[in-house]
Amino acid sequence: MSETDEVLLSVRNLYVEFATDDGLVSAVNDLSYDLKRGKTLAIVGESGSGKSVSSMALMGLVAGMNAKVSGEVYFDGQQLIGADPESVRKLRGDRMAMIFQDPLSSLHPFFRIGDQLVEAVQVHHDIDKKQAQVRVKAMLERVGIPDVDQRMNEYPHQLSGGMRQRVMIGMSLINNPELLIADEPTTALDVTVQAQILELLKDLQKEFGTAIILITHDLGVVADMADEVVVMYGGSAVEHAPVREIFYEPAMPYTWGLIASIPQISAKNAHLDPIPGNPPSLINLPSGCVFAPRCAFKQLVGDDLCEHERPQLSLISLEHASRCHLTENQRTDIRRARLIGRQK
């Protein structure tokens, strides 16, 4: 694409709340980010951090789940939150598409592969089945399905996991969408297949100029794919930076914890550094920093500030923001002491 610097998706102050019997669950709390055409934004976090829900919300896929979505999401200038559901439906699968973690459960078990893709074409294009099949066949060949003619007549359970995810990718990209949301696309696959799928995604992204939101908890995948990273915790972005900065100059304790949790074969002390504690309950979130209960560094901040005041997402440098009360000097000292990130 020529206009690579053009912002395709702009998310501003996104909130998603679910009314449940136990109370109001704040799944996404004030999330903002921009995604440029053809770029990849990784959203990283633990389960329940709101990374999937935020993406489902902007696709309009949380309707009917008693969800209350507010904020602004501009897709190519069009506000999606509160928009007519029918106009959002027409975007889905056409200009914005989604692939999911488990390709077996995500494909309909009772319909032929070919028919499922043909349906995806025909819902957005007024063409007959023959023409749609030609397109489907070309796409399945492009995503690396062998014996396409035969495979199109098979059912999902007859394919391997990697083939199924290739089919899902083919189905999501069949209408050449500008945005692809990939929700843990490789988590359910064998490691060798994971690499193939990521390569395929990168190739297709280059070929079609698709912008990708990559939802994952795998920092290896992030390093491989992402241009920018949003780290989410407790429904909010706690750090947002270009991918190199996340790994080289992570700026807040949760990100440090994530990076320290990556197993490293070269490390002399071979034990992992897990983050103690559990993710917060999203009902009645603490008024202070959501990460404070698990934070090892909160006593460095005076006056119990971390417990009482929610830190703002503030800029550290032009492209790097984080949500933490620690000062710049404190962070540098801690990173140096703990051997986190790039050592200067």
């Binding site: 699968g93 995500s106 995806a120």
Partner: protein, 320 residues
């Protein structure tokens, strides 16, 4: 194969009814004024003096090849499929079944179509409106409908529609070829009373199936593809939740084809159920065994049809 085996077992069990009754079958063949000589003559004529195994084989032979009763000059033929002669009126049981079976088939099929269409579409609607007042209202009404016995609904309809309001003439069965209007006028109430009962159940079944499948990942995929909600529900969700509905439908239909006893009685329909009940009250053994055999055959065939439909619905069930 399995079907043949099951039918064989079934025929043996039904045949043994002859000997399970606490009376002499030969005695049942003649009326109140009956001399011991006549009883003995009948016993020999009907082969009831033979060993049990011979009697059974004769009976089976009669079904497939026909049989001849009596010996010498006093013989009479019963062509295949021969199910014996009614003790009650001496008619061929096969003829009685051939006359009454269509009535039951019309009754069952008509009600079946009504309740499947009504139940499934209401179930889908309720699932779509889950938790809203429409859903609650439907669930409430179906619970009532499901709890009401068919004789209550049937009699209520007769009283109001026929007796009080005179909307329809009093039901009197004729074949659809004889007088189509009268046929429809007679059948409409039985169809509705049976359908109400079953539709209530199928509404609830469809609703719960839809709600189950709607949380599946492939439904989310269908929405992510941008399919309209109507197609998501009717094509993707319903198809996936269809298996238990098909199972119930097959067995319920088979059950009704064996005779909707109460409904046939209330509306005076001369169907299989009435034939069976009449036979039971009068110890008409050949008719009892025959109606039992027919009803049970329906159930066995329905089971096989349901199994075949599974494979048609779910490709994972198909043999490789």
């Amino acid at each position: 194969m399995l079907m043949v085996f099951m039918l064989t077992i079934l025929s043996i069990v039904t045949f043994l009814l002859f000997n399970a009754v606490p009376t002499d079958p030969a005695r049942l063949t003649c009326g109140k004024t009956c001399s011991p000589a006549t009883i003995e003559a009948n016993r020999i004529r009907l082969g009831l003096d033979q060993p049990l195994i011979t009697q059974y084989l004769e009976w089976i032979k009669g079904i497939f090849a026909g049989r001849t009763y009596g010996s010498g000059t006093a013989t009479f033929n019963c062509d295949a499929p021969c199910l014996g002669y009614s003790f009650r009126n001496g008619e061929q049981v096969t003829d009685m079944i051939v006359t009454s079976l269509p009535v039951t088939i019309y009754l069952a099929l008509g009600a079946f179509v009504l309740w499947m269409v009504g139940g499934i579409s209401t179930g889908i609607y309720a699932a779509r409106k889950k938790g809203k007042w429409q859903d609650r209202a439907i669930m409430g009404v179906t619970l009532v409908g499901y709890s009401l016995p068919v004789f209550f609904i049937g009699i209520l309809m007769l009283i109001f529609v026929v007796v009080r309001w005179n909307i329809l003439p009093y039901p009197s069965y004729v074949g659809p070829n004889v007088d189509t209007l009268q046929f429809l006028q007679t059948m409409i109430l039985p169809w509705i009373s049976l359908a109400i009962l079953y539709a209530a159940y199928y509404t609830r079944l469809t609703r719960s199936q839809m709600l189950d499948t709607m949380s599946e990942d492939y439904i989310r995929t269908a929405r992510a593809k941008g399919l309209p909600e109507k197609i998501v529900l009717r094509k993707h969700a319903l198809r996936a939740g269809l298996t238990p509905i098909v199972t119930s439908a097959g067995l319920d239909l088979a059950g009704l084809l064996g005779g909707a006893v109460i409904t046939e009685y209330i509306f005076g329909l001369p169907g299989l159920g009435r034939l069976a009940i009449g036979a039971v009250t009068e110890y008409d053994l050949p008719t009892i065994t025959a109606t039992t055999l027919v009803a049970a055959t329906f159930v066995i065939v329905a089971n096989i049809v349901v199994d075949l439909l599974y494979a048609a619905i779910d490709p994972r069930v198909r043999l490789q």
